[in-house]
């Protein structure tokens, strides 16, 4: 509502402004004025009408022109549309033709690219590439370029054939070899199929296009077989091949010898076994010394001698001589007592050796089992299905069992020797002492 009111107000103001200009004083004047204006207006209108009439022909011509233009443009559009459709049709036709003409060739290129791609890694690592360097350039080209040329296809075929035939050959060639000191020198290299590279009595390995001398050579048995093989001039010779084409030989570097491994993975159980072993060996050595060097010879010389000296048999003899004139029952009792006094000194520590020998494997087993528990617990927690982790853990855990067995075997031996000797001495004291004295007396 407000809007309308304001608009009408504006109209009123406008009107008063227009018509106030001629300054009409009376209504008659105003009337005259209006009439004049009317007449003027009419004249202008007539003039414009005349003008329009005069222009009509021109306008009609213009209209006709525009119509003509539109018609021609539409015709062109129709033409083009038709052409486009025709072209489209032709294109499909040509494409079918192309596909028919290409036949299996498209597939072939795919196969070639795939084959080149998959064999690139193998060829790069193949020992035959050590003899013929730069073979992988062709494969790079095959992988990069869009359509392989006929020449490239031929070369690829020859390359594969070369790889195949060379795998079955034992050849020697001269090549640059990086020796263990890291220096490059020219050496005569013997290649056995695709499996091993050797130079003289050394195994080599091939990595990143370079021939290197193996840092840690395999054990003597393997190397001896190699030198024996090098000595064979005709017929067949045996040697150790690496079917993994270098993988197993490389492992030599990582391999620890058994003593190293045992020392490294002994753990708490290993330490315990080691300490027990040392204690056991010390006890056994002390016993061996006492029984074989001190007590044993003393008793043996006492056997032949009727005068008692300070040794177990001599002490019993003293008791016998002191109570010789008592009645037999009393004498037997006194002698038994004397023997009983001597036995603990002889048997001391022997059972301890046996217990330690039995404890060794048990402790080792304990270490292994706890190691295994750790391995499997970590696998449960981290959920790695990696056989490497598991195998590594198990091989570490087994070391303590070896410790246990290594402790048990010598201690069992030592126990047997010591126990045998002590039993021998005790029998001498228990069963033979009185007889010995009796025969001494008889002979005297």
């Amino acid at each position: 509502m407000k809007k309308i009111i304001s608009l009408s107000l504006a109209a009123v103001v406008g009107l008063t402004a227009n018509f106030s200009a001629p300054a009409a004083t009376t209504l008659d004047d105003l009337l005259r004025e209006v009439r004049n204006q009317e007449r003027l207006q009419q004249q202008v209108n007539q003039q414009r009408e005349a003008e329009f009439r005069a222009n009509k022909a021109t306008q009609e011509r213009k209209l006709r022109d525009a119509r003509n233009k539109l018609a021609s443009a539409e015709a062109t559009a129709n033409n083009l549309q038709a052409q486009f459709q025709a072209n489209e049709l032709k294109l499909t036709e040509l494409e079918t033709e192309l596909r028919a003409k290409q036949g299996n060739l498209g597939e072939l290129f795919g196969v070639v690219r795939q084959a080149a791609n998959s064999i690139q890694g193998d060829l790069k690592a193949s020992l035959i590439s050590a003899q013929y360097p730069g073979r992988d350039m062709l494969l790079e080209n095959l992988n990069d370029s869009g359509t392989p040329s006929m020449q490239e296809l031929r070369d690829f075929y020859v390359l594969l054939l070369q790889e195949m035939t060379e795998q079955g050959k034992v050849t020697t060639f001269t090549a640059d070899v990086v020796n263990t000191a890291g220096l490059t020198e020219s050496q005569t290299v013997k290649r056995i199929g695709a499996f091993n590279l050797t130079s003289g009595d050394d195994y080599l390995f091939f990595e990143d296009g370079k021939i290197n001398t193996l840092q840690v050579q395999p054990n003597a048995q393997v190397l001896n077989a190699l030198s024996a093989y090098n000595g064979v001039s005709s017929g067949y010779g045996g040697m150790y091949l690496d079917p993994s084409k270098g993988g197993i030989l490389q492992l030599e570097k990582l391999k620890m010898s058994l003593p190293e491994r045992l020392w490294k993975y002994k753990g708490v159980a290993g330490w315990a076994v080691l300490v027990l072993l040392i204690v056991g060996v010390i006890i056994a050595l002390e016993r061996l010394f006492m029984l074989y060097v001190v007590t044993g010879p003393a008793i043996n010389s006492q056997k032949k001698n009727s005068t008692p000296k300070n040794n177990p048999l001599g002490r019993i003899m003293k008791v016998y001589l002191a109570n010789k004139n008592e009645d037999t029952e009393n004498l037997e009792l006194k002698l038994d007592e004397a023997v009983l006094k001597e036995t603990p000194k002889i048997e001391r520590g022997i059972n301890l050796i046996k217990v330690i020998a039995a404890l060794g494997p048990l402790l080792g087993l304990l270490g292994t089992v706890t190691g295994m528990i750790e391995v499997f617990q970590s696998i449960t927690l981290h959920g790695t299905g990696d056989p490497r982790t598991m195998a590594d853990g198990i091989s570490k855990a087994l070391a303590t069992t070896v410790w246990g067995l290594l402790a048990a075997i010598p201690l069992t031996f030592l126990h047997a020797i010591v126990a045998g000797k002590s039993k021998n001495i005790i029998h001498t004291l228990e069963e033979q002492s009185t007889g010995l004295m009796a025969s001494h007396e008889e002979n005297a």
Partner: protein, 170 residues
């Protein structure tokens, strides 16, 4: 020669422990043969001398004579039983050595596996097959001695009693 190669091949498969087991086996059988030679060859001669000596004695009744007889019997038993404990220990050590070989073999297997990072069941089975050879060898070595050592013990027992019976108690 063929046999030697077979044995060497076997030892090659089983590892260094087989050499130790072989040495223990050799020692054990040396002792066993020595025992057989003593119990059945030497001892009867010694026993005859002692029996003759006993029969020649005037006094076989006194306390002193009895003690001397006990002394002879005990000495005979000692010499018959000598080294039998050692033989039994060698027998007991054989399985331990076998186990040692197996465990070290297993360590090798798992070490190689961890180095290569492959979980090939075939490879593992091959390694374990090799690792179990020492245990088998140890068992066989122990069994070979076990029977004979029991026979020897029995023979020593019988011989010592026969000797005691040959010295009449009056």
């Amino acid at each position: 020669m063929e046999l030697i190669y077979t044995i060497l091949d076997f030892i090659d498969k089983g590892g260094w422990v087989l050499w130790v087991i072989g040495a223990v086996l050799f020692l054990m059988w040396t002792f066993i043969i020595e025992r057989y030679w003593y119990i059945y060859g030497e001892f009867p001669k010694l026993a005859r001398i002692k029996i003759a000596e006993w029969d020649a004695r005037d006094d076989t009744l006194s306390w002193r004579a009895h003690r001397i007889r006990d002394y002879w019997v005990s000495e005979a038993r000692e010499s018959l039983n000598a080294r039998l404990l050692l033989i039994k220990t060698l027998i007991a050590v054989c399985p331990l050595l076998g186990l040692l070989g197996t465990v070290t073999g297993m360590i090798d297997v798992f070490d190689t596996m961890s180095g290569q990072g492959s979980g090939s069941a075939r490879q593992m089975a091959g390694g374990i097959f090799k690792a179990t050879i020492p245990t088998m060898a140890g068992m066989v070595a122990a069994l070979s001695g076990l029977f004979v050592s029991n026979r020897l013990e029995q023979a020593a027992f019988v011989k010592s009693h026969q000797f005691a019976d040959s010295l009449p108690h009056h």
